[in-house]
């Protein structure tokens, strides 16, 4: 069904939610490192366990595997350059999402997920957002994907997503985050 294209700030969205969002967004933007363990399932019925380690220097290590580690694939690097290790050996790729689609038959919006998993739009790319009553993302449209945030959980006083769904014209992926760990906020700049 054609989803309603949400306005940048839906009419009647109360100022309270918008103000809460600005504060929440700043708190989220300060997160420089985290580890998440979750499960992904897409509309083709493909399921995978996801282990994502994001480091303060911007690089990440992501492990994607089926039941019991079948078809385990490790991607490590930065958004631009990723080393992919799998049963096929090792390979450098600047388009890991396309590699996954070609080799695993499905894919994940890896580039965006680094931000979207936190409940944050990716920086310096246009985004349309719709907020929930507590000023957190309910719907985000960015880079061709629509993210709907269905459940949040509290981690160190911060609301982080537990259940979200990412969809584009071809694919829908449900993501359930079972565990957040080592969520590190970068120290505020000295001047503060």
């Amino acid at each position: 069904c054609a989803s309603l294209a949400p306005q940048p700030s839906a009419p009647g969205e109360d100022a309270g939610a918008r103000a809460a969002w600005l504060a929440h967004r700043d708190a989220l933007s300060g997160i420089s490192a985290f580890t998440l363990d979750g499960r992904a399932a897409n509309s083709l019925g493909v399921k995978a366990d996801l282990h994502w380690q994001q480091y303060a220097d911007g690089h990440f290590e992501v492990r994607i595997a089926g039941p019991l580690g079948s078809g385990a694939t490790a991607l490590s690097g930065t958004a631009q350059r990723v080393l992919i290790r799998s049963a096929q050996g090792e390979e450098l790729s600047d388009d890991p999402e396309a590699w996954l689609q070609a080799h695993a038959g499905w894919s994940l919006p890896l580039r965006g997920l680094r931000w979207w998993a936190l409940g944050l739009p990716a920086p310096d790319a246009p985004a349309q957002t719709q907020l929930d009553a507590q000023g957190r993302l309910a719907i985000l449209q960015q880079q061709g994907w629509t993210l709907s945030y269905n459940e949040y959980t509290e981690v160190d006083g911060l609301a982080l997503p537990r259940r979200l769904e990412a969809s584009n014209t071809q694919l829908r992926v449900k993501l359930l985050i079972d565990r957040w760990q080592d969520v590190l906020k970068s120290a505020p700049a000295d001047g503060h």
């Binding site: 363990d37 499960r39 399932a41 509309s43 083709l44 019925g45 399921k47 366990d49 282990h51 492990r63 595997a65 089926g66 039941p67 019991l68 580690g69 079948s70 078809g71 385990a72 694939t73 490790a74 290790r85 799998s86 049963a87 449900k174 359930l176 079972d178």
Partner: protein, 188 residues
């Protein structure tokens, strides 16, 4: 070889089985990725139920023709032809009717204190590097799945009972209301 004989004794000797299991998943650096536990039931030919109970529920049920993979937390169940995914999971492996010779090269890892180690090496490209299966008098004790990255998943069985009466309904599945059913259409 000894490995094949031990496996054969299990495949031919054990018609039904029920057990509890503990599972730990270790990555290639030795870090623990996950710890899980649940129960397993088998009724030859080809029927099994593999149920993860903690830390969250996941259920795999096979009636010999179709495998249901139910994920309550994601409200989704996939239905697949049993023959298609038979080799990839412990339950499916243990429920095999025939020896696994076509899918695996079977080697013997020797025996110690009455426990036979059978090593299964997948033929052709596969999801796992190898699978180890420990059998005591033809009854499974432990299974280890070595993944492509150098990590492994270690499954240890306990409270193993064979020759138990298992109701056929245990091996069917009816998706609860509101569950997204993903059927790849090949299931009979």
């Amino acid at each position: 070889g000894a490995g094949e004989d031990a496996l054969k004794r299990f495949v031919d000797g054990v018609q039904t089985l029920s057990a509890a299991f503990e599972q730990v998943q270790i990555d290639e650096h030795g870090a623990v990725l996950s710890r899980r536990s649940g129960s397993f039931e088998l009724s030859r030919p080809g029927r099994f139920r593999w149920s993860y109970e903690s830390p969250y529920q996941q259920l795999m049920v096979c009636d010999g023709q179709r495998i249901w993979n139910y994920e309550p937390d994601l409200a989704q169940v996939t239905v697949r032809d049993a023959a298609q995914v038979l080799r990839g999971t412990p339950a499916a492996l243990l429920a095999q009717k025939s020896l696994l010779g076509d899918a695996f090269a079977i080697e013997s890892g020797g025996a110690k204190d009455g426990v036979d180690l059978v090593i299964l090496k997948p033929r052709g490209d596969a999801d796992f590097r190898k699978i180890e299966l420990w059998l005591a008098a033809g009854v499974p004790q432990r299974m280890k799945f070595y993944d492509a990255l150098g990590g492994y998943t270690d499954v240890r069985f306990s409270k193993v009972k064979t020759g138990v009466k298992l109701d056929a309904a245990r091996f069917g599945f009816t998706p609860p209301k509101g569950t997204e059913v993903v059927d790849d259409g090949k299931a009979p």
